[in-house]
Symmetry: C2
Amino acid sequence: MAAEGHADGTVGKALDVLDMVASHGRPVRFSDLLTQSAYPKATLYRLLQTLTHQGMLTLDPDTGAYALGVRLVRLAHAAWAQSSLAPIARPYLDELAAKTGETIHLAQMDLGQVLYVDKRNAAKPVEMFAQAGKVGPAYCTGVGKAMLAYLPPEALEAALARQSFYRHTPHTLASREALLAELQAIRTRGHAWDREEHETGIICCAVPILSRSGRVIGALSVTSTTARTTLDTLGALAPTIKDIAAKIAAEAESWRFPEQV
Amino acid sequence: MAAEGHADGTVGKALDVLDMVASHGRPVRFSDLLTQSAYPKATLYRLLQTLTHQGMLTLDPDTGAYALGVRLVRLAHAAWAQSSLAPIARPYLDELAAKTGETIHLAQMDLGQVLYVDKRNAAKPVEMFAQAGKVGPAYCTGVGKAMLAYLPPEALEAALARQSFYRHTPHTLASREALLAELQAIRTRGHAWDREEHETGIICCAVPILSRSGRVIGALSVTSTTARTTLDTLGALAPTIKDIAAKIAAEAESWRFPEQV
DNA sequence: GACCAAGTTTCAAATAGTGAAACCGACGGG
DNA sequence: CCCGTCGGTTTCACTATTTGAAACTTGGTC
């Protein structure tokens, strides 16, 4: 999380600092950040000041600790509403959840990682935003592989370079080669499996959400447990999932550019 | 929204651009932003490039339109979880909603504006994040006035300077003087009313959430309609609301700085 | 084929950012 | 009571980054 290769300009550094503050789960002191960051004291200080002044961070006067500011929450709202697929997809997720009775995930790709932007839980009722925004690995999740499979070569390369290939379970595809073969299989099959590759007992069927021009804009998955379902049963849902994914894609396109062709 | 007085440094400008993109409800073209912003072409172009490169914006290659990027969503999640009171307050909001059966708002102060960070709706079940993140005026809402009343002098001054004092309804306190008198009344009373000051027919009772040191960290309100309730009935709930606010304050403090005194 | 609009690149001048070091106030021994 | 230290803030000469007018592409239109 602190491994920076290319912090272009002052803006990059500032955002880097923002990430640093975000990565701690709680407000951080100046000195904590100082030891963690590569920036010299004065530079870090100024960056923090600027960010605070801009409302992206808050400096708690009682404790002298920095926390993420409210301006970020406000931007968050906008980001959530406009950038992510979540608001468009919501009714479709509901539909899919109702049809399947299983856990649904909606994800987007973020620099080689999977960002979950919305979710329907099989058991519990919907929780608030806290559930979304989580990130996960791409190489060993259904949604991750579904998106990787349809990435253009350069983007795929960039994404692959960021995979850890840690073997979470005995089923994890823990090498570049194994993953590439799997991606090929996904392309011919049209959907991706998660065969307990991330967590034992958890399986899922995922499909990519593609724009008309073939660009990956997200992925959709139905998750279950080996205790309750088999891959085959889940596979029977694939057409339904694809159908919903197509609807989401269509709506995303028309909603985002209504005046276009 | 485009009125900038103090865009310090490059970072300020970049964040300004970010806001500009966010303020449009949809992806924006370069030229739209250009006409709107004061920045010269090349400058704006570079800022957009940097932000895009940093993942804060996305450039849709099909249409050449900029939208908020996923990195922002990720930061958003962190901001939501750690900066705002929402996650801490959630169970208490539920409790208050159950007790009162009315609409509950949890808000924080953001540069003279009220930022709603969570909500319980009387009628409908809880919606997703989309509901939170909304901003509203401070001078004519219950939560806004509750927070203003307990702000230190300089902060109050800064906040007042940003109020529009637009007369939304006949009951709106549309002058600085009227508002100041009201704030004094709120301090002695311990809670704030909204007497149909923002919307006709909507009333509410709000209390500030204060840290042990007396700093304003948020506000909590119970809202209803004149059709259903009176101010007096709502006022009877004031002790309950204060109680919940105190609990939230206590938890916020212990959660954020567990190792402190 | 010339024209126009949108987007991208250039380059010298000017601004804004850098960071070693000095400074400050609070704390805690000795 | 004084001295050393620790977290945080400020200074200032040095430099790298940012700036923006203008030139240049690209792609679509008449």
